[in-house]
């Protein structure tokens, strides 16, 4: 067998390959994810051992010699032949992708997050706008909403644009929400632009009028509900400290019944206090919801509800339990969506998209209630990341700090060597900033969780018939 699989240089620096091929096991299944093609393979023991040795820089003869005691020469040669064949087809050890991030100006604006109301009818313990500087009674005036729509539609982006209505609680400013949607639809229609709308809400203000409006206008909803009543009520309280579970559930059901349970996500939060979060998923499924997203909390390390590295083993067990739930429900003909288990390897986005990261400050901007522009909703009120005002003649100002979100050491160095780099979008910059007090390195916990979830998601690709 010709041994020209890797060049001498690649063999000497095995790391060059390790970042491009990820060999892992999940529930006894051995899987190989080929980073540069996005292909996933299931391997048997001889193949797993051979790939491991190749990743260590072994040449073919060394692989055959190393595995001689455990497998026949014929078997190992057959394995190496298959590996070689897959390499030639660019499905394993595929060619490195060389395209680089083209920089901020290459990404025209295509999505806005409008902070319609910076006030909220709840006082959730983990809310990232608890800070007095960012949380106030400010409601977005209609003029700000309309100017924001103009900014988005005048962008030189493609056909699709998106507006997310966010807060605080955006429904506290329903009149402006309604008017802004009407204006945006009319203007987008005349320009031939496809515009989609999302509302992120706690649902407590969903009156009949609002429910009817949301369902009639086809507005997707992200509905905050953490799971079991005690879990939800411990964190999501009104200003008198009363839990909001019962009212939220009642309103969410009414809203979703009016849209045949389509175009929604139930969005919960995982904190130190619900590390057994698979029970929350079970609870939400029991309530009839089938489109779920549970997110680890973004919190400063000192908070009592902040997640810690020591929580990872239990969280891994919970994600494993979610795998059971997921597969059992599918087998029973009652499948559900779990946001972090969704990976489309065969039809996923292009390399450009994968390098564009979260889009904050480039394709995506947050508009605060007073018209101030920030890279994303989580940066709202942080002066360092101020990007101008929607009320100015030239709204967008250059702010070098924004580009540092992408140029930071974490992306240049740490992410470049990570197998998950084309799946995670380099993580959430705001979360990294919050949890590490700077952008010089990645947040270990977020990265560990992301990789843990991705391995489970890849396993599901192999485990599902």
């Amino acid at each position: 067998m010709k041994d020209d699989f890797f060049s001498e240089q690649v063999r000497k620096t095995g790391d060059m390959v390790k970042r491009d091929v990820h060999l892992f096991a999940c529930r006894g299944m051995k899987l190989v994810y080929d980073v540069n093609s996005g292909s996933l393979h299931q391997v048997d023991e001889p193949a797993a051992d051979a790939i491991e040795l190749l990743l260590q820089g072994c040449a073919f003869p060394e692989v055959i010699a190393s595995l001689a005691e455990r497998f026949s020469r014929e078997t190992v040669q057959e394995v190496l032949g298959e590996i070689q064949s897959l390499k030639e087809k660019n499905l394993l050890f595929s060619a490195p992708l060389t395209r680089h991030d083209p920089g901020g100006s290459a990404y025209p604006l295509k999505a806005l997050c409008l902070l319609l109301s910076q006030d909220c009818n709840l006082s959730c313990r983990y809310c990232f706008v608890r800070d007095e500087n960012t949380r106030n009674a400010l409601q977005m005036p209609l003029e700000v909403g309309l100017r924001a729509v103009d900014l988005l539609l005048e962008s030189e982006s493609g056909r699709h644009r998106e507006i997310d209505f966010f807060g605080g609680e955006p429904l506290l400013n329903f009149p402006v929400f309604k008017e802004t949607v009407a204006y945006a639809k009319k203007e987008a229609g005349t320009r031939g632009i496809e515009l989609t709308f999302t509302l992120t809400t706690n649902a407590l203000l969903c009156t009949e009028e609002i429910v009817e409006f949301l369902n009639r206008e086809g507005i997707s909803v992200v509905l905050s509900l953490d799971g079991r009543p005690a879990v939800h009520d411990a964190m999501r309280q009104d200003r008198r400290g009363r839990g909001s579970y019962r009212s939220a559930l009642q309103n969410i059901r009414r809203l979703l019944e009016g849209r045949d349970y389509r175009n929604y996500y139930i969005r919960g939060t995982i904190t130190k206090h619900n590390l057994d979060f698979s029970r929350d998923v079970e609870h939400l499924l029991d309530q009839g919801f089938d489109s779920l997203s549970l997110e680890p909390v973004v919190a400063s390390p000192g908070e009592d509800y902040a997640l810690e590295a020591g929580d990872l083993p239990q969280m891994e067990q919970e994600y494993e339990r979610l795998l059971d739930l997921f597969l059992d429900h599918k087998a029973a003909g009652k499948p559900f969506l779990f946001y972090h288990f969704l990976v489309d390897l065969g039809r996923g986005p292009c390399l450009y998209k994968r390098l564009s990261g979260c889009g904050a400050g480039r394709e995506y901007l947050a508009v605060a209630a007073d018209g101030s522009l920030y890279p994303c909703h989580q940066f709202s009120g942080r002066d360092k990341y101020y990007m101008g005002s929607i009320m100015d003649e030239k709204p967008l100002q250059e702010n070098p700090c924004v580009e540092t979100l992408y140029e930071a050491a974490r992306i240049q160095r740490e992410c470049a060597g990570c197998w998950a780099r084309y799946l995670c979008g380099f993580g959430c910059a705001a979360a990294v900033l919050t949890q590490t007090d700077g952008m010089e390195s990645n947040d270990f916990l977020s990265c560990a969780l992301q990789k843990m979830r991705l391995e489970k998601a890849l396993y599901l690709q192999a485990a599902q018939p």
Partner: protein, 85 residues
């Protein structure tokens, strides 16, 4: 359909056969133009990343606009290239 729900069931259907050597996969020639038979490595999913490196339509959903609003994920976004007129 809007960008909030990125996935539809996979298009490819693989016919799997077990043999006494391990994995044996037959991909219908009509789909691939070839039949790839492997004994030790089963192709679970053929990724498309190599084919997309020059693509640049920019019609996809912005990642941060997803359901999570915190954990950015790009691997589950839907490519809208085929929708472009």
């Amino acid at each position: 359909m809007n960008g909030l729900f990125p996935l539809t069931p996979p298009r490819d259907k693989y016919r799997m056969k077990a043999n006494n050597k391990g994995f044996c996969e037959e991909r219908p020639a009509a789909l691939t133009g070839e039949v790839l038979i492997v004994n030790h490595i089963k192709i679970v999913k053929k990724g498309n990343l190599q084919e997309t490196k020059e693509r640049d339509c920019r019609e996809c959903q912005t990642s941060c606009q997803s359901a999570c609003k915190t954990s950015c994920t790009v691997g589950n976004q839907l490519c809208r290239q085929e929708e472009k007129p």
